[in-house]
């Protein structure tokens, strides 16, 4: 009872300037909280998205590595080579067009490498001798 009446007395004794100051403190604290929370979320989202794309590219690199290893080990069926290249090219093109829209990275950057590798393999004497 004593504590409540003490608080009431304190609040009643506050002047208009004090109320304005308290209101200012509350608004500033809310604003600071909102800004920190929003910026943090945005940074986190950006990072998550970047990590996702980086992982996609790493997966594609690994698929190429596996494919080349199998090719050298002679465990790839020759008639699966061209379909594999088609699928990979479509996959890379899709990813590059998304990355281009998001980060303005040149979407034709990997094209010469894709084409050169496919030419190297499908026009080689290996392909000619095995693709029956």
């Amino acid at each position: 009872m004593g504590t409540t009446s003490c608080c009431l007395n304190f609040l009643c004794s506050l002047e208009a300037a004090d109320w304005i100051a308290i209101f200012g403190v509350i608004v500033n604290a809310g604003l600071a909280f909102w800004i920190v929370k929003t910026i943090q979320n945005r940074l986190t989202n950006k990072r998550v998205l970047k990590d996702y794309f980086i992982n996609e590219f790493k997966d594609i690199r690994n698929e190429y590595k596996t494919f080349l290893t199998n090719l050298y080990l002679n465990t790839t069926h020759p008639q699966k080579i061209i379909p594999w290249f088609k699928l990979m090219n479509i996959k890379v093109d899709d990813l590059m067009s998304i990355v281009n829209a998001k980060y303005k990275i040149d979407e034709k950057k990997l094209k010469p490498y894709q084409i050169d590798l496919r030419e190297l393999i499908t026009n080689s004497s290996f392909a000619s001798s095995r693709n029956g």
Partner: protein, 143 residues
């Protein structure tokens, strides 16, 4: 406009350049499908649309041989004015045909460097002085 599709009119698995190294070759596609279809379009004065999509994929040599022979037999100007290539899945094939195959085979035609055939084909059409002629223009080299 007449439309042909590699998938429907030829094969789901187009292979390499010549008949002596692969079954469904560019050479075979040209002689079995493309030459006749283009001749029909030329005679009827209509465009020929060639759809490259929905197959298992291409080697560049397949397309180079097929469309290159077309330029050799019908000239670049006629081919360019009468053909439309559709390649939505792999658009770079269209670019390759237009920017590399066409000019290379046109200069080959001008220098009279005959295309190589590696199998016997039925007589096919060629434009000679704006006149269509059907002959067996080349035969495979004897081994």
């Amino acid at each position: 406009m007449k439309t042909i599709s590699v998938l429907e009119n030829f094969s789901e698995f187009p292979a390499l350049r010549h008949c002596n190294i692969s079954d469904e070759s560019g050479e075979k596609f040209y002689h079995k499908v493309l030459n006749k279809a283009f001749k029909e379009a030329y005679v009827n004065n209509e465009k020929l649309s060639v759809n490259l999509d929905a197959t298992a994929g291409y080697a560049s040599s397949f397309l180079d041989e097929a469309f290159g022979n077309l330029v050799y037999d019908f000239t670049l100007d006629v081919v360019k004015s009468k053909i439309e290539i559709i390649s939505e899945q792999e658009p770079h094939w269209k670019e390759m045909i237009l920017n590399q195959t066409y000019p290379q085979w046109e200069s080959r035609r001008k220098s009279k460097q005959q295309p190589i055939v590696t199998a016997n084909h039925e007589a096919w059409y060629r434009l000679i002085n704006n006149e269509l002629k059907q002959e067996i223009w080349e035969r495979p080299a004897a081994v």
